[in-house]
């Protein structure tokens, strides 16, 4: 991870990780081709420019392409996923801010996985390393309303009686 950290830095989400892994697999196949410049052709035609640039920069340091790509794929496989359920589709700014906070406060080896559910109103439901916590606005308000549970039920009774 330490050697090729620049590769993992461009990966922020689970979907980005999957895409980059597929690109590195294509490049690894290109390394095994006997023709000359096959790897370069794959870099030009089959992967994103950002990925191609980082790979070129690393290969310019005279590392073995095969070892480099295999290690990079292994590093990607080691990344941990932080699942977040949020009320809105994350914007780029929101994504940058969240991943910066996570890399700074949790770990560099963490990527994000987002689920979208407007019913949670705001905040997030956090799931990481088998632990789960609902810190959504819906939950906060629900907890607040539990104290008035009887009052709410009394308000609902007429409606329920009508449904009978």
């Amino acid at each position: 991870m330490s050697t090729f950290s620049n590769i993992t830095t461009i990966v922020r989400t689970e979907s980005e990780c999957s895409l980059l892994r597929e690109e590195l697999q294509l490049l690894l196949v290109g390394v095994f081709e006997t023709k000359e410049n096959t790897l370069e052709e794959v870099l030009v035609r089959s992967v994103r420019a950002s990925t191609a640039q980082i790979v070129r920069d690393n290969l310019a340091m005279k590392v073995d392409p095969k070892s480099y790509l295999e290690d990079a794929i292994a590093d990607l496989d080691k990344l941990e996923v932080l699942h977040l359920t949020v009320a809105v589709e994350p914007t780029e700014d929101m994504l940058i801010r969240i991943i910066d906070w996570v890399r700074k406060n949790v770990s560099d080896n963490v990527i994000l996985s987002f689920d979208h559910s407007s019913t949670i109103v705001g905040g997030a439901i956090v799931s990481f390393r088998g632990k789960y916590r609902d810190i959504s606005l819906r939950n906060v308000i629900s907890d607040a309303l539990v104290e008035d549970h009887d009052k709410i039920l009394n308000q609902l009774k007429p409606k329920l009686n009508k449904q009978k």
Binding site: V88, V102, N105, V121, K131, I135, I141, L160
Partner: protein, 224 residues
């Protein structure tokens, strides 16, 4: 020569045969006449026999009539003689009959008494037997009744339990349905309340801040 001998021989033989035939015819005619005479004699004899038989029958009737008349007369005489001794015989017969009747009455009474006693004994035995049988039957009936009642009670209890279980399942299902509806409505109220509390809706920046706060709280609670 031979032919002449044969011719004359044959003629002789034919002549002899003709003589024999004539003799036979004459004999047959004589026999027929004798048979006819015999038949006529037989008919005469039958007629004579029949007349004799009728005479004998008439004589027998007359003799029978005479014998019956004599017997009648003799019987009347005997009957009249019998009436002379009838009173003594009747008295003796009456005495004997009375004695016999008395004896029979005594025997009959004894027999009646025996029969009565036997009947009472038999009836008592029958009564005891009936009592015993009845008692036994009643006990068996009570036992069977108690078994059947227990079975019925068990069946009724099982039916009630099954019915109760069914009703409970239905009630539980209905309760679950109501609870689901209640929860949905609670969430609807939560959403409405959230909107009222928060305003019309949150901005992206506010969402971003809420997510960061959620992460901070998760870190404080060691989720991260």
């Amino acid at each position: 020569m031979n032919e002449l001998v044969v011719f004359y021989g044959s003629g002789l033989v034919v002549s002899l045969l003709g003589v024999v035939l004539v003799i036979v015819a004459l004999s047959y005619h004589k026999a027929l006449r004798e048979i006819k005479a015999l038949r006529s004699e037989n008919d005469n004899l039958k007629k004579q026999g029949s007349a004799l038989a009728q005479d004998e029958l008439a004589r027998a009737r007359e003799q029978a009539h005479t014998i019956v008349s004599q017997a009648d007369t003799k019987a009347s005489t005997i009957v009249s003689q019998a009436d002379v001794f009838s009173s003594q015989v009747k008295q003796q017969f009456s005495t004997d009959l009375t004695a016999i009747v008395k004896k029979e009455e005594i025997d009959f009474e004894g027999l009646q008494k025996q029969i009565h006693e036997s009947a009472i004994q038999i009836l008592q035995e029958i009564s005891n037997s009936i009592k015993s049988d009845t008692h036994k039957s009643v006990e068996e009936f009570q036992l069977a009744l108690s078994v059947e009642m227990k079975k019925s009670q068990d069946q009724v209890r099982q039916s009630i339990e099954a019915g109760y279980a069914n009703v409970k399942r239905e009630v539980d299902a209905y309760q679950l349905l109501l609870m689901t509806q209640v929860e949905k409505q609670i969430y609807e109220i939560v959403r409405t309340t959230a909107k009222k509390v928060i305003g019309s809706s949150l901005s992206i920046e506010e969402h971003q801040e809420l997510i960061i706060k959620a992460l901070e709280e998760a870190k404080r609670e060691h989720i991260l």
